[in-house]
Amino acid sequence: MKKDEPPKWITRLIEWYCHPDYSKEIVGDLQELFFKWKSEKGPLRANILYAFNALLFARTYNSRFLQNSSRSNHVMMLRNYFFVSVRVLMKNKVTSAINILGLSLGLLGFTYIAMFIAREQSFDQHHQDHEDVYRLVLGPLDQNIGKYAITGAAMAPSLHREYPGIRSFTRFRRFPSLVSRDDQMFYENEFYFTDSSVFDVFTHKFLEGDAKEALKEPNSLVITESRALRIFGSSKNIVGKTLTIDNQLNYVITGVIDDVEDNSHFKYHYLASIASIPTHHNEPLRTYQMTSWYAHYFYTFFRLEKNVDPMQLDQQIRSAAKYHSDPDNYELYGTNMGLFLQPLSEIHLDPLWGEIKQQGNKDTLSILGIIAIVILVLGTFNYTNLTTAQSIKRSKEVGLRKTLGAAKAQLIHQFIIESVLITLVSLGIAISIVQLTIPYFNSHFNSQLAIWTIETLPILVFVFVCSLAAGLIGGMYPAFIISSYKPTAIFRGIEKSRKGISFRKLIVLAQFAISMILISSTVIIYQQVAFMKNTELGIDTEQIMVIPTNGNSSINSTFELLKERLEQMPEVAQATIAELTPGDLFGGIIARFEGMDKNRSFPTTGVSFDYMKTFGLKLLAGRDFDVTITSDSTERAIINETLAKQLGWTPDEAIGKSYDFGGDNVTPGRVIGVMEDYHFNSLKSPIFPIVLTIRPDFFDKISIRLAGGNVADGVEKVKEIWQGQYPNWPFEYYFADDHFYKEYEAEQKFGGLIFSFSLMALVIGSFGLLGIVLIDTRHRLKEICIRKALGAGISNILKVLSKEYLKIITVSIAISIPLSALFARNWLQDFAYQMKSYTWIILCAPFIVVLVALVTVIVLSVNAAKVNPVEILRDE
């Protein structure tokens, strides 16, 4: 029933603006009609008709304001100002439209950015006492700053024991698993092992189960409402049911919680008790990952006591790592890491290495904030500019009002009311456009913005206040200019006051310069992304499909068979299994190469045979891993050129050098090959040293290079073979290049945002120019006609008219170029590999604006120049 009702807010609106004597029957009548429309014309049209008819009731005869108001002079004057404003707007349709469109666009951009920024800043703040929650992070002691989000499992319990003030802690170990019940099977990436105290740190509503007890026992599992619905089709009576994990473990559901809010820096759907780890089938997980200070696999959160100074605690725990390990171990780890506390609410905008999902970016927000203000100011300037330019037209009205006794203040009021009215109309338009476009914005920029919610209410109020302020400020200048005209001067005909011209020029200049800067910034961002995408990586990611093994531990022993079957097909060129695929984060492993006196951590990844072939990596010296040589399976390493250089070897020298995996003198190995450098991660970071070794216990991704053109066909064939060999493991895959290009998503999103807003700025700027040229040519019509009468041609007049604008454009180009260059240099600094040269972009981009401006000026000027002099000069 609720859903069938007409839009509530319209009903409330009618009740508000209609006279209370009538509002009840009006709403009742409208509602009756609404249901009739709905059955005849469908819900959409019924809604529109409802809103439209409701608006028609906004007539003066039943408006509460006019009926109840005392008819004091002030009210009457206000009414008069209002009517005059409406009349003026209707009379100058073109300039009003320009004003309103410009301001609407400005407010549109402003509203979107305000909502976006507020959303970004709201992350993780829905938890109770979120200001007491901190994440434990790691960072180099000498830099005194937290850098790595992932910590060791052993840290939290000892810190909790040793330092007072930690109320509770919770650790998260992400462990993508296969969840099944009966014949339903799902790979779940948002599967975590966590402490039973998790619900003391993060607030959740329990639909079923008890927060304190839920995760105490081994093999207990808390799931979210959406997952309960997915598996059981209901969120009731679920506690006590069993889910099978990885086809071999049985976990009992002990609680159902509400879903994690979208504005959280990470999401979980399954929380398994940390007490289940000792019986888990994954060996590294249940052994060293659970006990070590140095194997970093967990996200650790603390909730502090209210009376604790977090800064002080942060200082105290700094060097705890040192005391908790014997000196040898500490040296062995060798990186001199310290512990830091990071406030929960800062994580999203201050992400560290190893975040689970793409987080926000502070710099992006500040750039957007600046753009929001700039766009709003541009729109407001338009109004100021056009109104001032038009003031001469209104001078007779002002003269008359003054003669009849209007005080200057009253005139100022009138013009300000006019500008506020325009702003409010524009705001209405802007908000309606936001309402209409928000689904597209959200899907394009992968965001979850909404306008009519409690969270955005303050934003709407803020936008409203800002637009009122903009209206006031924008109306102020013309108000003072116009109201200062002297009636005697006006009526005597000395009306060509040239006041305000230089100010107007300045505004147009600023608009141009800003449009130019925004456009060259957009081009630079797009070019850099294109450059990164087109650069030869040195590793071939095309036509490679990746199948994550997702906890399927039987793969390691049966992969050879799968590989054989796959490679027999013509559709498959090569198959391999490895720890990482391009774009993944590297973990460091302690090792010592020949000639080093100390252990060091080297980015190392476990691979299997044919890894280099599958990914098209090239050897500079030595050989690839060989399946027929047994020692290759444990004791051999292939390094990249960068590492060889760091160790002071040429590729050929590196071959045969000793290599100690773990740095413990237990597994002596040799370097057997040196690869050409390749980009394993995005071009944002430089190429780092890489060690490849054969490490079966790390494998969790199968990479298959498809041959031939028909990829879809190949995938289908691979699926058949997979299902034949692993019937209990659903077939899921992604493409290596898609995965890799995800690294550029943030830049692309940012580029898209800047592009939209620079387009807005350009349109606002051209609206402004259009208005100014329009008014200017109208003022100079007589001059043009006299020139024509005296024999000037169209081209001649064009020159006269556009001379002034050409000057403005030239100056704005001169201003924009160095500022664009500054932006480009700063923004590109974050990229290890930058596009070759951006000078041409900075030099050429302004001409897009120039083109738009010239077309505007020329079209209008030609129109003016075509006027027949007789028609204009007849009156003289």
Partner: protein, 112 residues
């Protein structure tokens, strides 16, 4: 001052109220007028006309008849006053008087 004469639309609304008797309120009057004239009219037009007629003294109204469909809101039910009846009659008589003055030949001969 408000005039006491009836406009065309006002007359239509009055007639509709007369037809509907005890069930004359915004929506029903709108439908009645639309049914007979075939012209679309908006609710606000009907509403303002009825209120105007009430102010002129041709209609009187009372509240009543809340239904579920209306979200429990009452209707304003209109009735023609004796003044209203009088002015309707006047309008009708005026018309027939004027009809009588049209020359028969001109009309029936179709010369116009």
């Amino acid at each position: 001052m408000k005039g006491t004469s009836l406009g065309e639309f006002e007359e239509l609304c009055l007639l509709a109220v007369g037809i509907l008797q005890e069930d004359a309120y915004g929506v029903s009057v709108k439908e009645e007028v639309e049914k007979h004239t075939g012209r679309k009219s908006t609710l606000s037009t009907i509403h303002s006309t009825l209120i105007r007629l009430e102010k002129k003294g041709f209609l009187e109204s009372r509240m009543g008849g809340a239904t579920e469909l209306r979200g429990g809101r009452t209707k304003r039910i209109f009735r023609i006053t004796s003044l209203g009846k009088k002015s309707m009659n006047e309008a009708r008589e005026l018309r027939s008087r004027m009809w009588d003055h049209i020359p028969k030949i001109l009309w029936e001969g179709g010369a116009v």
